[in-house]
């Protein structure tokens, strides 16, 4: 675990390395009271979303990661990792956070780009 103290004006926060996250898996970052799920896809792309399904707040970090999406463990909503949008007939959006990779290091911008809907 990486315990960090940051000042809010630092745009990018180092949260760990790519290798901390299992492929097709996810890890959680505690951002104060908020939980952020950081995902790693089969082809090593990294995404960060608030760990909260727009449906009933299910922890997306506990879902199954597939093809740029995660399926929520509570009721199988499928959320796009890139946009946070619910796929298919479901409607809703989870906040996403910009990710920057330097070497193996993963940085998050903790200002959400999309507010939850």
């Amino acid at each position: 675990m990486n315990a960090l103290s940051i000042s809010m004006d630092a745009a990018w926060v180092l949260v760990g390395t790519i290798d901390d996250i299992p492929r097709q898996g996810s890890r959680r970052v505690h951002n104060g009271a908020m939980r952020i799920a950081v995902f790693r896809t089969a082809d090593d792309r990294i995404f960060a979303l608030e760990d909260k399904c727009p449906h009933k707040n299910g922890p997306l970090s506990a879902g199954i990661v597939h093809d740029g999406c995660v399926t929520c463990p509570l009721h199988n909503w499928v959320i796009s990792l890139e946009t946070g949008e619910a796929q298919g007939a479901d409607e809703g959006r989870t906040s996403t956070f910009p990710v920057r990779i330097e070497g193996r290091n993963v940085y998050l911008d903790l200002m959400p780009t999309h507010a939850a809907r």
Partner: protein
């Protein structure tokens, strides 16, 4: 009619004698005491289906015709692995190579045929095999694992099926055929050419006019040399150059033989008490290798044995079909050119269709169809009835749909067939028999129709026709089990995927997706957990469980709740607990401020509302008290609920608690297609509610009644009885075997009652209660897989496994900036 039971001895246990016995048991039950000698060490199976076994489309289990139980039920003695070496016609006895001598009143010789081995140097080398029985198939499968080169000598029906099977198993195959075109006995050169192209498209090399000069190799096969000096390397040579009737035993016994054992139209040899049926028999100068005439011989022989001496074998042409998936080919009768013959030919090169009908005096005498064989049955019907076709001559070749008026759809074409049109050539079943049986017995599934009419029960090429007949007869009630794809990532259904995982030895999720052409790059949340289960089940020792393809509950070994917290249920074996265990639970609840504690329906205790981060510490404390995971989250064995049985109860008949604990200790940790809940009740009052469980036991004075396929969830359903066994050991054996059968056949998330409905209760009872070999094999596979499954997941995680699941990646303290 005799008063005492006569002794009937049968030499050989292939398809013809098997069918003969079925007829005989129907016509004259109890008349004979039957003894069978089988040179092969197994029961009777469908030899025509060996090619699908070779290619992986079927398993041996699926092609068994009569299991052990069938012989037991009918009081038939079967000597497996006994080859008869002598017939003493004076003493009326036969003797096997193991020294067993049996007397007979009537003897049936059904020794079949032997493969023809072309007499070339090197034919004895290891690596040269024939294609005749299951042992040959197993030898080929073993050789195919090397993924090396194979040569098939013989471009006939058998040779091409062997080549296709080996190619599908990953070998590089060359077919050597001595004639100018493939299957020249059944196909004219044009169709032979199309066939060659189709075979070559499958990556199989075909060399026609190839005379094998020698098989080369030093100690084992290394290649084949042709007459023209060409040398083709190979590590496997399959001889499929034809078969010869196996008449040597009869010849040694002094019976009249020619090419085969000479019999009259009643299947009697030159000795009135000895009959011959099958490929070894020669009737009216003809020997046969296709199943339909062999089954006809079986019928005639049975009828004679039953005392009806009138029935007589009549020659009939049998259509030939090739069992290679994707190649449609049909040939019938005489199609040689001749001055007194006319022919009608249709060629469509683009579509790969070739049709030829040979006529004599305006009547069909032969047909070759390639690419589109739908009208084979119709042409066969016209030929059999010697219908004068002059009126429809202009449109004959287009098929039945074009006769009179506008084109018909295929269903209408089947509807238009007369009742006596033959649908299943192998078993000689006509349309009227099928439709009448469907109606009379209220049949609704293909398997039922197969069971009751035998149509589509042998080679299976008429399955489409039978399904159309079902649709016609049943109308809207017919649900043509259209294969439901697993998910949007594939068109394959669960059963196909399971079969192909085994057949192609696919041992990882990426391998399955690659080989089975998944449409998505890495699957979805529906198919990945299913594939993970199938691979865990099929390759317990080799497959590395993919945790990212498991649902969260199975990944973190607890049950996720609506607020993202978890619940934890430790195992309480058979529902028994103690003050020490209860105290440990109380301490854990206090220490971690667990908000809710509840007693479950499966006789254990659930602690709800635990934070994910706390799970390993909770488990560590529970583990110290001796608890292991109750797997209350698993698609696997959950609980075995029990009543107190003979320990305490005044009505108890057996130690139900002890048996429940024994089952749970034996089976915990096993993954199953869906959750598996069990119960053991000590008497029929059934306090453990065993009759609505997936598997239940009701103890009775005389033993243990095993139940299964109950449900008490979305559906409510009482269990079915599997059978009664006498001892605890047997109860465990049967339950384990049943579970393994379900593990191997169930679709992911399919509860046992749904699986049982799909497979059929009788079939499950047959395999588990009657077929001792199968039961034992299931049991052993389960035991083997348990070696890898019985690891307590909680203690593993207490020791640090999958730490990342429980710990945050980073904790950011915002207050520093505020």
């Amino acid at each position: 009619m005799t008063t005492k039971t006569e002794k009937l001895v049968i030499i050989g246990n292939g398809m013809a004698p098997g069918r003969m016995l079925e007829h005989l048991l129907e016509e004259a039950p109890g008349r004979y005491q039957v003894t069978i000698f089988n040179a092969e060490p197994r029961v009777n199976y469908d030899r025509i289906m060996l090619s699908p076994v070779l290619s992986g489309e079927k398993s041996y289990e699926q092609i068994v015709i009569h299991g052990d139980g069938w012989y037991e039920t009918h009081g038939i003695t079967l000597y497996k692995g006994h080859k008869v070496v002598a017939i003493d016609r004076i003493a009326k006895t036969v003797t096997s190579d193991h020294g067993v001598t049996e007397p007979y009143d009537k003897l049936v010789i059904a020794t079949g045929s032997v493969p023809f081995i072309i007499p070339v140097p090197g034919k004895e080398l290891p690596g040269v095999i024939t294609y005749r029985d299951l042992d040959d198939v197993n030898a080929m499968l073993l050789a195919a694992q090397s993924r090396q080169k194979a040569i098939v000598i013989g471009g006939g029906l058998l040779g091409l099926e062997a080549a296709a099977g080996l190619a599908q198993r990953g070998m590089e195959v060359t077919v050597l055929h001595v004639m100018p075109t493939l299957m020249e006995r059944q196909l004219d050169p044009a169709a032979g050419y199309l066939l060659q192209k189709a075979v070559e498209e499958r990556g199989i090399k075909v060399i026609c006019k190839a005379n094998t000069k020698a098989i080369l190799g030093n100690g084992k096969v290394e290649g084949v040399e042709l007459d023209d000096g060409t040398v083709i390397p190979a590590s496997l040579v399959v001889m499929a150059a034809g078969i010869r009737p196996n008449a040597s035993l009869a010849r040694d016994a002094g019976l009249a033989t020619n090419r085969g054992i000479v019999v009259d139209a009643g299947m009697r040899t030159s000795d009135g008490d000895i009959l011959a049926v099958g490929e070894c028999a020669e009737v009216d100068g003809m020997v046969y290798g296709l199943v339909a005439p062999l089954y006809e011989m079986a019928r005639i022989a049975a009828s004679h044995l039953a005392g009806n001496s009138k029935s007589a074998f009549v020659h009939a042409d049998t259509p030939t079909k090739l069992k290679v998936t994707g190649i449609d080919l049909y040939s019938l009768g005489d199609f040689a050119d001749g001055d007194d013959r006319e022919e009608i030919v249709l060629r469509d090169a683009t579509a790969g269709v070739y049709k030829r009908v040979v006529l004599k005096d305006n009547r069909i005498i032969g047909t070759v169809l390639y690419g589109d064989t739908a009208d084979g049955t119709w042409f066969n019907d016209l030929k059999k009835k010697r219908t004068d076709i002059s009126a429809m001559r202009d449109t004959l070749i287009f098929g039945q749909a074009y006769q009179g008026g506008s084109p018909l759809d295929p269903a209408a074409a089947v509807a238009a067939l007369p009742d006596d049109a033959e649908i299943c050539g192998c078993n000689g079943v006509c349309k009227g028999k099928i439709t009448a049986t469907i109606t009379a017995r209220g049949l609704s599934s293909l398997d039922e129709v197969r069971a009751h009419t035998k149509a589509s029960n042998s080679c299976g090429t008429c399955t489409g026709l039978v399904e159309q007949l079902m649709a016609l007869t049943l109308g809207d009630r017919y649900n043509p089990k259209a294969v439901q794809p697993m998910c949007g990532c594939t068109d394959l259904g669960h059963d196909d995927v399971r079969r192909l995982i085994k057949a192609k030895a696919l041992k990882s999720i990426p391998a399955v997706m690659q080989e089975l052409e998944w449409k998505t790059s890495c699957g979805c949340a529906k198919c990945r957990p299913a594939l993970n289960y199938y691979l865990v089940c099929d390759w317990p020792d080799e497959y590395a469980d993919d945790y990212q393809s498991r649902f969260i509950n199975e990944r973190v070994h607890a049950n996720i709740q609506k607020d993202g917290t978890y619940s934890v249920v430790p195992r309480m074996w058979g529902g028994m607990t103690s003050s020490k265990e209860l105290r440990a639970i109380a301490d854990v609840v206090d220490k971690f401020a667990i908000p809710a504690v509840k007693v479950t329906g499966g006789q254990r205790i659930d602690m709800l509302g635990i934070r994910k981060e706390d799970l390993p510490a909770v488990w560590a404390d529970l583990g110290k008290a001796g608890f292991v995971s109750g797997q209350a989250y698993a698609k696997g064995l959950r609980t075995v609920k029990t009543c107190v049985g003979t320990d305490w109860c005044r009505f108890g008949t057996q130690d139900s608690t002890g048996l429940g604990i024994r089952i749970e200790r034996f089976m915990w940790g096993s993954w199953t297609p869906a959750k598996l809940k069990m119960a053991v009740s000590g008497c029929p009052r059934n306090c453990a509610e065993a009759t609505c469980k997936d598997v239940g036991v009701i103890c009775v004075d005389s033993g243990y009644e095993i139940h299964f396929a109950g449900a008490a969830g979305l559906d409510i359903k009482g269990t079915e009885v599997l059978g009664l066994v006498k001892s605890e050991d047997e109860a465990l054996l049967h339950i384990v075997a049943l579970t393994q059968m379900y593990r191997e056949q169930g679709r992911y998330l399919e509860r046992i009652y749904k699986w049982a409905k799909r497979i059929g209760l009788d079939e499950i009872r047959r395999q588990i209660m009657e077929d001792t070999d199968k039961r034992q094999a299931y049991y052993e596979r389960f035991v083997f897989s348990q070696k890898f499954a019985q690891v307590d997941p909680w203690s593993e995680r207490v020791s640090g496994k999958d730490k990342h699941e429980f710990n945050p990646m980073a904790v950011i303290h915002k207050e520093a900036a505020e």
